[in-house]
């Protein structure tokens, strides 16, 4: 029998489901905004408490009216079942809202068709009010490990015309349909809501409550419960009162749990599309239909993951043209068939999937074609491997910090962080972390990461990570041998100190490196001049790219961060009249804020305990300090706190802020005069409406970077995400050394760059694993460049003429002239000074040959409109 006949039979068998089903003319989904999503996959099972901290970090992406988690891949002992039962049985979980309903439910839907291997009501905290902030009692969860009775399955297969399926496939379908029946009977978005199936897949479960995600962990006592994959979701329903968690994420297909951040514009159309395939949503959220789509493509149609992703987030425009003809043919067919089911609008999915056929767990992140939601991926390699996907980077850092505190084999910094480019030909906008079984241990899996097309994401091989305990003992073995570094302090040579340590990374082991950093710290604490030298040298270690030889870069960063943090924490608070330039302030001592006295100059803010926004945030404290006369700030310990530099207003020339740690959204948005140095990646909305001043980012930046900016100088060492400089006017001057996802400088209106206007220099380069500058495959991969722009220009380093007219809409590409080069050279020189990207050796050298700048760079400018501008 042909494949499509089987598919038709499966779909046909579901027709019975909709019997007596109240069909609606129009589906109004529940009001819901975006949300916070986070997830990670680990090569060893880890405790539930590690999803706690990242969930907490994303409180401001939810409102405490819906939180949920899913976890996958367990130690069977923890669930009281055998390994075989865990792997083979369906873990059917029913959330009960009305006591007494289970007797009837069991009698009608469980006992007749399932063989129950184990069942329990899962343990929870006695009184939900013991958990601070929880106001609505979470549902009781009845858990059953079940298999479909052979006779029942046989009848089902015969009756439903599914004899061509394998037994397991038919059993999957039975479970799926049975759960639909349970929900139809006991749960109706418009009517009675006494119980619903919360999950039913193999080796994973979902739990959700009206509250925050981390309260799930507390309530159901999962702090010490171990699993390979954890995902969590903070919901932000716009409706103020929510009584039950059925609308919270994650949602199930069969063997997958999906959390979602976003909002579909075409919910109704997707529902119709599913209805044509006899699938009917019951919970009226776009998350539910998302996972139903995923399940339809993967299980019913049997598509490989790549095609599933294509059906959800189709490859469009120029990206489509860049695909091979074979791919185009398949993708076109997929799009033709499934475009009506493709979710339109902003969305980002994180999916935990048990690929039972291949005995593999997967953590998948998929972004929409327009890349309208924030997303960060990270890979931590080593003895313990972790793959992470989050809405915001600080959630990744929080996860790693939490994991590292328990297991020293895990570092606090990941090897790689990156963003996906939605619906692209390059990565497809999706990444998959696979956890495959290893022969060595039943509890250890191997983690690999691939993009939509199966291209692996790797880290440099042959590098050892820093393990604090063993480095400590190595250091002790050195018997206190000193490093000759005092000369750098005596002569104020921070640059040479940096070079010294850099060389040490090659020559020493981790023990020596740890010792050396310790010695730098003790020198630093002797006096202010020494601190200045240490700070500059260590900051360079964080900021710049250099070879790390047999060591992992993430480990160097972790050690440097730790050294810096302990140095910062050493400074005196504002109380008392101690001498010195530096003063520390933190959450506990924030009330001590006062104007600087004596020779006090630099305020060091330990941001770690401050809330991310609002009256008590550290950014507000900084504004207050500025108004009291402070001009230099160092902020460290950040966990996604927002709005740094906002609110200082005009007249902030001469103010400098240095940012260490995971900075948050809207950094420097609105600044007018001051300078901000960010030692690491930044997130979304950096430098919006910036008027003047300087932002230097030693890393990547996020969405809508410099939206509506009016001026200022900005240098980005790495990449920008989508829509940088949209609607920017005036005279911003910007260098992006990497590239951007798409929509660079849409509606750019920054005058004539040769006459005081603004421009962007896009270098399209990256640093390889050895710290060397390399060109990216193409300097600008997006389909839209400089659309509708009426002023300003983009200077793009493109010696191989990759950028073409097709990417433009209203702009034109012209050759560089001498006056252009004269304009941008000083900016590139400053870029060289900041990032070590040499104009001569890196930018103007192409394939080892020095090129003329006029042949290396190209200029994109607005097409002349033929309007007489003289009047």
């Amino acid at each position: 029998m042909k494949k499509h006949q089987i598919i038709q039979n499966i779909i046909g068998s579901r027709k019975l489901l909709s019997n007596n089903f109240p069909l609606r003319n129009y589906y109004k989904k529940e009001g819901e905004g975006g949300c916070g999503v986070t997830g990670f996959a680990s090569s060893i099972p880890v405790r539930g408490k590690h999803i706690f901290e990242p969930s907490r970090q994303m409180h401001n992406r939810g409102n405490g009216l819906g939180g949920g988690i899913a976890s996958m891949g367990f130690d069977p002992g923890m669930l009281g079942v055998s390994k075989d039962t865990l792997e083979d049985d369906y873990m059917l979980q029913i959330a009960v809202r009305e006591q007494g309903v289970m007797e009837d439910l069991e009698k009608r839907f469980i006992r007749p068709c399932f063989k129950i291997d184990f069942s329990e009501i899962i343990p929870h905290v006695e009184d939900f009010r013991d958990i601070p902030g929880l106001t609505i009692r979470p549902p009781d969860i009845w858990r059953y490990f079940v298999r479909v009775k052979p006779q029942v399955l046989k009848e089902f297969m015969e009756k439903s015309n599914l004899l061509q399926l394998t037994k397991r496939q038919a059993e999957d379908e039975f479970v799926f349909q049975n759960s639909f029946r349970i929900n139809k009977t006991y749960y109706d978005a418009y009517g009675s809501q006494s119980a619903f199936v919360i999950s039913h897949g193999r080796n994973f479960f979902i739990l959700k409550i009206v509250g925050y995600a981390e309260q799930v962990v507390q309530y159901y006592k999962l702090e010490n419960f171990k699993a390979h994959i954890w995902i969590a979701h903070q919901r932000y329903p716009t409706k103020g009162r929510v009584w039950h968690p059925a609308g919270a994420h994650p949602f199930i297909g069969l063997n997958e749990a999906l959390v979602h951040n976003g909002d579909f514009a075409n919910y109704h159309s997707v529902v119709e599309y599913l209805g044509q395939r006899n699938i009917y949503p019951l919970f009226l959220t776009d998350t539910e239909v998302s996972v139903l789509l995923f399940d339809l493509y993967s299980r019913t149609y049997g598509y490989p993951l790549e095609y599933v992703i294509e059906a959800l987030a189709p490859t469009m425009e120029r990206d489509f043209d860049q695909l091979s003809p074979e791919k185009q043919q398949i993708y076109r067919a997929i799009q033709t068939t499934h475009i009506h089911g493709s979710p339109d609008g902003p969305w980002f999915f994180i999916i935990a999937r048990n690929d039972t056929e291949n005995r593999r767990f997967q953590l998948i992140g998929i972004t929409d074609t327009s890349m309208l939601r924030p997303q960060v991926f990270a890979l931590h390699d080593g003895e313990v491997q972790v793959g992470l996907i989050c809405s915001e980077k600080q959630a990744i850092d929080a996860t790693l910090k939490s994991l590292a505190d328990e297991d020293s084999r895990i570092g606090t910094v990941a090897d790689r962080y990156w963003n996906a480019r939605g619906g692209s030909h390059t990565d497809g906008g999706a990444f998959i972390f696979n956890l495959d079984e290893t022969p060595s241990s039943p509890f250890e899996r191997k983690l690999t990461c691939v993009d939509k097309f199966g291209k692996p994401i790797t880290v440099p091989q042959g590098q050892a990570p820093y393990i604090p305990d063993s480095a400590q003992s190595m250091a002790e073995d050195r018997n206190g041998k000193r490093f000759d570094i005092s000369r750098f302090f005596n002569n104020q040579q921070s640059g040479l100190l940096y070079e010294y340590v850099k060389k040490g990374i090659k020559d020493w082991d981790y023990g020596a490196l740890l010792e050396c950093l310790g010695q730098i710290k003790s020198c630093a604490l002797k006096n202010n001049a020494n601190f200045e030298v240490s700070l500059t040298a260590l900051t360079k270690l964080l900021d710049l790219s250099y070879p790390t030889h047999d060591k992992k870069r993430r480990s160097i960063l972790q050690m440097t961060n730790e050294t810096l943090t302990s140095m910062f924490r050493h400074f005196p608070y504002l109380e008392g009249g101690k001498n010195g330039i530096y003063r520390l302030i933190d959450w506990e001592t924030r009330q001590l804020l006062r104007e600087p006295i004596k020779n006090e100059k630099v305020m060091i803010i330990d941001a770690s305990l401050f809330p991310p926004e609002g009256d008590n945030s550290d950014s507000r404290l900084m504004t207050e300090a500025f108004h009291r006369g402070w001009k230099r700030f160092i902020v460290f310990g950040l966990k996604g706190q927002r709005f740094h530099g906002c609110g200082l207003g005009p007249g902030s020339v001469g103010v400098r802020i240095d940012i260490y740690g995971s900075s948050g959204d809207y950094l420097g948005s609105g600044i007018d005069g001051l300078s901000i140095y960010v030692h690491g990646n930044t997130q979304d909305q950096v430098g919006q409406i910036m008027k003047s001043g300087k932002i230097i980012i030693y890393g990547d930046t996020g969405q809508t970077f410099l939206y509506g900016a009016k001026g200022g100088e900005v240098y980005v060492m790495g990449n920008a995400a989508g829509r940088p400089l949209i609607n920017a006017v005036g005279k911003p001057r910007v260098v992006i050394n990497g590239t951007c996802l798409d929509y660079l400088a849409e509606s750019f209106m920054a005058g004539d760059p040769l006459d005081g206007g603004g421009f962007v220099i896009l270098n399209g380069i990256e640093f390889d694993d050895y710290g060397q500058v390399q060109p990216q495959p193409v300097p600008y991969p997006g389909s839209n460049l400089f659309s509708l722009a009426s002023g300003g220009a983009i200077y793009i380093r493109d010696p191989f003429l990759h950028v073409d007219e097709e990417q433009l809409n209203g702009g034109e590409i012209v050759n560089l002239e001498d006056k252009d080069w004269k304009l941008i050279l000083p900016i590139l020189k400053e870029n060289e000074r900041l990032f070590g990207i040499s104009v001569e050796k890196d930018l103007l050298t192409v394939n080892g040959k020095r090129m003329s700048p006029l042949k290396t760079y190209r200029k994109v400018r607005p097409k002349q409109m033929g309007i007489d501008q003289s009047d």
Binding site: G36, Y236, G345, R642, P650, I726, N727
Partner: protein, 492 residues
């Protein structure tokens, strides 16, 4: 509460044109014997005598409704009454010639027209024009109560948070119109009138010209999708910041200033390029969801921790959800902009087809906020086609706390609704223009006084309506749908 705040003075401010357009014309034939009878009988000063007896103020003539018609009194039948053909060429169904001329009358005199003009409703066949206030017969009402005892002020911050309280003295303020879409004289006239009335006027998204600085306390600055002219400094200057997510006249479309209107002055203000069209994106590219919106609000609060936050949205089908979400994100004011508004620059296809009519949206939002238990913590402002004090009273009875005015103010400056706001250098009457020569058609003091007069007339009329309803404050009218009847559903 100070109910006796000094009100601005109404100063009679006639049209700036020699022959104002009225509804009627009186023709005087050669038969006239200059007896002066017409002068004597006319209650409206249409005729006068300087040397000869002449008919000058045609526009004041109330036509057949005149209790004492001159043309009947004329002993030689030298006078005849005709409808002014120019009058009938003006306006449209929504802004009928009657409404235009009566708004001019209010802007001139500070009072509603006595007779002859329908000043309360238009002729659109729907919306406010099918709704009527049910006013009890005069003898059963509080008409005797002095005007001073009727409170029409409105508190804008009802959250009881750390933000300041801001009371406006009339239940309306000026909606956003950008520098570039209207002239600086128009902007200044609006904001000076707002200052005189103790209320606000919004800058729109085209920047915050320095000329407005003296009136900072009465300016709402707008953060709209183009972010034109928005800087920390402008946000810190004001007491209210308005986020414009969408405009009821053209939801799903961003602002669009055609190249011709981008003069050097406009380009300077917006820091853009002269002669090129200026687009605002249709959404905020930084805000795609409610938690993005909250972050957006938090950002403005970080820049100016004392400014109230107003969120202006259009009226999609899920407007109730948007309003509740905005409340929880920290907004003080929800500003619903319905589909009847917009100047000539908004495309007709958008104005007439996209957003939900405001009289549908307001009750939905009012009720869902009530159901949510937060109605008394947020100020609900309606706009989009509020042409008259009667429209304002109707939408308040449907559930709004107050309204925003836009086109009415332009009409006070003698806009004739020719719908050519966007083309060329803009308005032939010097209102919606950026052309220096056209701009000079309006004198600032004249413009200011005209808008003051209009608003004083509105205020007086609102008080009269409240008194007729037996109410002592505008707050009592909120949500009183029992005071309204829809002609389509009226018991025959």
């Amino acid at each position: 509460m100070n109910l006796n705040k000094e009100l601005p003075e109404v100063v009679i401010t006639p049209s700036r044109f020699k022959n104002p357009i009225g509804k009627y014309r009186l023709h005087r034939t050669n038969e006239c014997i200059e007896c002066g009878k017409c002068l004597e009988v006319c209650p409206y000063d249409v005729h006068f005598k300087i040397g000869r007896v002449r008919t000058k103020n045609h526009y004041r003539c109330v036509g057949p409704e005149c209790p004492n018609p001159c043309y009947e009194a004329c002993p030689v039948e030298a006078l005849s009454l005709k409808r002014n053909p120019t009058f009938d060429t003006m306006g449209d169904f929504r802004w009928t010639p009657d409404l235009l001329v009566s708004t001019w009358y209010m802007a001139e005199t500070g009072a509603v027209p006595p007779k002859g003009l329908e000043y309360r409703i238009g002729d659109s066949g729907g919306g406010f024009d099918r709704l009527r206030l049910i006013l009890p017969p005069p003898h059963r009402t509080k008409l005797a109560m002095p005007d001073e005892e009727v409170h029409v002020g409105l508190e804008l911050n009802r959250r009881n948070d750390s933000f300041p309280k801001i009371m406006i003295d009339v239940p309306f303020y000026g909606a956003g119109m950008s520098y570039g879409s209207v002239s600086i004289i128009t902007m200044l006239s609006r904001v000076r009138a707002a200052a005189a009335l103790g209320t606000f006027s919004c800058t729109g998204e085209g920047g915050y010209p320095d000329e407005l600085k003296p009136y900072d306390d009465h300016v709402i600055t707008q953060v709209a999708t183009g972010l034109f002219g928005v800087s920390e400094e402008t946000i810190q200057r004001v007491r209210i910041v308005e986020f414009k997510y969408a405009q009821g006249a053209k939801p799903g479309l961003g602002g669009h200033l055609l190249g011709d209107k981008v003069t050097p002055a406009v380009a300077r203000m917006r820091e853009a390029v002269v002669g090129y069209p200026l687009f605002s994106p249709f959404p905020f590219h930084s805000v795609y969801s409610v938690e993005d919106h909250k972050k957006h609000v938090d950002w403005i609060k970080a820049i100016n921790p004392n400014a109230l936050i107003s969120v202006k949205v259009s009226t999609p089908t899920d407007v109730d959800m948007v309003a509740i979400g905005s409340y929880y994100a920290g907004a003080h004011i929800i500003h619903l902009d319905g589909s009847y508004g917009g100047t000539g620059a908004a495309p007709d296809i958008a104005k007439k087809n996209i957003a939900m009519p405001i009289e549908y949206a307001v009750p939905i939002v009012h009720k869902s906020l009530q159901k949510e238990g937060v109605r008394d913590k947020i100020t609900l402002i309606a706009s989009g086609g509020i042409r008259t004090p009667h429209d304002a009273a109707k939408i308040i009875a449907l559930g709004a706390d107050g309204v925003c005015t836009g086109t009415a103010e332009l009409v006070a400056l003698e806009c004739i609704r020719c719908h050519n706001c966007e083309s060329g250098r803009g308005c032939a009457r010097g209102i919606a223009t950026t052309d220096p020569a056209l701009m000079r058609l309006i004198d600032l003091n004249w413009g200011t006084q005209r808008i003051i007069n209009l608003f004083m007339a509105w205020r007086k009329e609102l008080i009269r309506i409240l008194k007729r309803l037996g109410m002592k404050s505008i707050g009592e009218l909120v949500g009183r749908t029992d005071c309204l009847v829809h002609l389509d559903y009226m018991n025959k």
